[in-house]
């Protein structure tokens, strides 16, 4: 037996549809079985409330008395893209105000969106080159959302089906779009609503497609396509959405700032899933324990971050996960409390007949995947430019021998090694030598070398290695293999040669 969306809409209009949230559904299915649940439940409402960086809005300002073709447009000093005709602009959530920097993030596109929805006044400044049809070259004015012809949120990528969680395996605190990550795997952050996640409740895109009516920011909006980077094939689907900002509710749209990253928009999105048959009843009975994600090490500066562990949302939500035999505290970045509120608000709308299900005009393909950027200028690796035959010295050697090697090779840094495989023990510099001379400790390299050596690996990208070198304020680093044996040396000179283009083929 199966139902249609039209039949369910009839029930909604009559006020006798059975609507439950995605959190209630699993227990209902357990209690009355799939068959009965499919017959009796008409709609399951989902909800999510979290950081959705890939959000923004098209604004239309109307024409000024002397018309202007806005070329550069700023809203409270945040640049909005206005290469779309004369008086339209797109304000993106992550654009920072022009007097903010990454170390001082106070205001960005997300704040402009929040301020507009809250009815606050925004300063609009625009510049132009002036044309015969649009003579004005500059305008400054104050506007509120009521002064705009349109304020339409159009978000390229929202409502991630699930999202990999984050930790930090380095020895320094890092600040990311996944929040503050403490050193040595001391915390884990995650995002997404798990059991309430819209796409996890309809992973086959049976009802979510172009034209699906949704809850967005407290208003009714639509899915307008698969989101950018949508990877429906691997269970990391996303949606492109739109909604009328003039009808939104500030409770479901909040500007946020991640230290060291930038601004983002917290947005509430809820999608109703019509229960057309048993298959959909089954999909909406998904629990937190059924949805798994990887915990990735965000200290690794590479697209392919290593997976530390795979966990379920149930484990993440328990407050602790185990990493390398330690119990590590977890933090959600999205608010489950508000996700619940979205799902129950949507449920209320449907029960009261204020929200009618949309029928998708086209479904979202289940085989989409996202590919990495094609890079034509490949960044070389340390191994490509390092000195592969560095002069080294045994730790049992004398300072005099080190000084001689420095003079003969005209190098200021010599890695100190031990054993047949040249295991890295330290580094000796001309400064260490002169110190040894002045202190009269000439017979042992081991005594005067620097033991805490900053080093790198041959397969690291050179820009990463170069920034480590400069942040440590040193001018050379030994290059070691995975066992800590010296396989090369790289100096700031090697980098500067490369960056000035001389070594680039």
């Amino acid at each position: 037996m199966s139902k249609t969306i039209a039949e369910i809409n009839e029930k909604i209009k009559r006020g006798d549809a059975c609507v439950v949230t995605a959190e209630e559904m699993p227990d209902i299915v357990d209690r009355i079985g799939l068959g009965r649940a499919a017959r009796e439940v008409d709609v399951v409402t989902t909800g999510t409330f979290g950081a959705m960086c890939s959000s923004g809005a098209f604004l239309n300002f109307g024409h000024s008395e002397i018309p202007i073709r806005m070329a550069k447009t700023y809203l409270n000093k945040v640049e909005a893209y206005s290469g779309v005709a004369a008086v339209d602009a797109y304000i993106g959530a992550t654009q920072l105000a022009r007097d903010n920097t990454v170390d001082d993030i106070r205001y960005g596109g997300a704040n402009v969106i929040e301020d507009l929805i809250c009815g606050r006044t925004i300063e609009l400044k625009a510049e132009s080159y002036g044309t015969d049809c649009y003579p004005l070259k500059e305008i400054t004015t104050n506007i509120t959302i009521d002064d705009l012809n349109q304020a339409v949120m159009v978000n390229p990528r929202n409502a991630y089906q699930r999202y990999d969680s984050a930790t930090n395996g380095s020895n320094k605190i890092i600040h990311t779009y996944m929040g503050e990550l403490l050193p040595d795997y001391r915390n884990v952050t995650y995002s997404g609503a798990g059991i309430l996640s819209p796409l996890s409740n309809d992973p086959e895109y049976r009802s979510i497609g172009i034209g699906t009516r949704i809850f967005i920011g407290g208003a009714q909006g639509y899915v307008i396509g698969p989101g950018t980077q949508c990877s429906s094939a691997s269970g990391f689907g996303t949606l492109m959405t739109m909604g009328d900002m003039k009808k939104m509710n500030p409770e479901y749209v909040n500007a946020a700032a991640f230290t060291g990253y930038g601004t983002s928009l917290y947005l509430g999105i809820g999608i109703p899933i019509p229960i057309l048959d048993e298959n959909m009843a089954k999909a909406t009975s998904v629990r937190d324990s059924d949805i798994t994600v990887s915990i990735k090490d965000y200290s690794v500066k590479n697209r392919d971050r290593p997976v530390v562990k795979t966990v379920s949302y149930a484990e993440l939500k328990s407050g602790f996960v185990e990493i390398y035999n330690h119990s590590v505290p977890t933090s959600p970045l999205s608010s489950f409390k508000r996700a619940r509120k979205v799902a129950s608000e949507l449920k209320r709308w449907i029960l009261e007949g204020d929200f009618i299900l949309g029928t998708p005009v086209e479904t979202i393909p289940q085989n989409l995947s996202a590919k990495p950027m094609k890079e034509t200028m490949k960044i070389p690796l340390v191994g490509d430019i390092m000195d592969k035959f560095p002069i080294t010295i045994e730790k049992t050697g004398s300072v005099v021998e080190a000084a001689r090697k420095m003079r003969e090779s005209s190098k200021n840094h010599i890695p100190v090694v031990f054993g047949p495989k040249n295991h890295l023990e330290g580094i000796i510099t001309s400064w260490d030598v002169s110190k040894a001379v002045s202190e009269g400790t000439l017979n042992s390299v081991e005594k005067c070398m620097t033991k805490k050596v900053i080093y790198c690996y041959p397969d690291e990208k050179i820009d990463v290695a170069a920034s480590r070198l400069s942040s440590a304020g040193i001018s050379a680093m030994p290059v070691v293999d995975s066992e800590g044996n010296v396989v090369g040396l790289i100096t700031s000179e090697d980098f500067s040669k490369l960056f000035s283009g001389r070594k680039l083929q």
């Binding site: 403490l182 230290t259 917290y266 970045l333």
Partner: protein
């Protein structure tokens, strides 16, 4: 814990800090200090159990000692109950109740400030010292 030490103008040229350290053998962490004609103000940090002895050391030399309330302030209008702050707090000040609402046990807060950088909604702040 953090303390505010007020030194009267006629005492600021003496080596009051050094004396207190020598006498009490407590390692004081000087957080900030400002000295002007009307006297000096210093913010120091000491282990909680040393409060009585450090206080006696300063007051016997004519300075006043005020314990500072360092616990975090949460702006409940800005907070969205995301819980981002939970995992960074070393003393586990934050937790969720059964409704996923954020709870804060401020008596455990040491004022380390880690959570202020974590909160995406600028809802957490350490009170400024004057």
């Amino acid at each position: 814990m953090k303390l505010k030490i007020q030194i009267p103008p006629n005492k600021i040229n003496t080596t009051i800090i050094a004396e207190v350290i020598l006498e009490t053998k407590v390692i004081l962490n000087l957080i900030s200090s400002s000295i002007h004609s009307k006297g000096g103000i210093m913010i120091i940090e000491i282990p909680d159990n040393m409060f009585d002895i450090v206080k006696a050391g300063f007051t016997s030399r004519g300075a006043s000692v005020i314990p500072l309330d360092v616990s975090i302030k949460r702006d409940e209008d800005e907070c969205v109950d995301c819980g981002a702050c939970i995992s960074v707090c070393p003393t586990r000040v934050f937790s969720f109740d059964e409704n996923w609402e954020l709870q804060a046990d401020l008596s455990k807060c040491t004022g380390c400030g880690l959570c202020t950088k974590m909160c995406p909604h600028k809802a957490l702040e350490i009170p400024e010292f004057d």
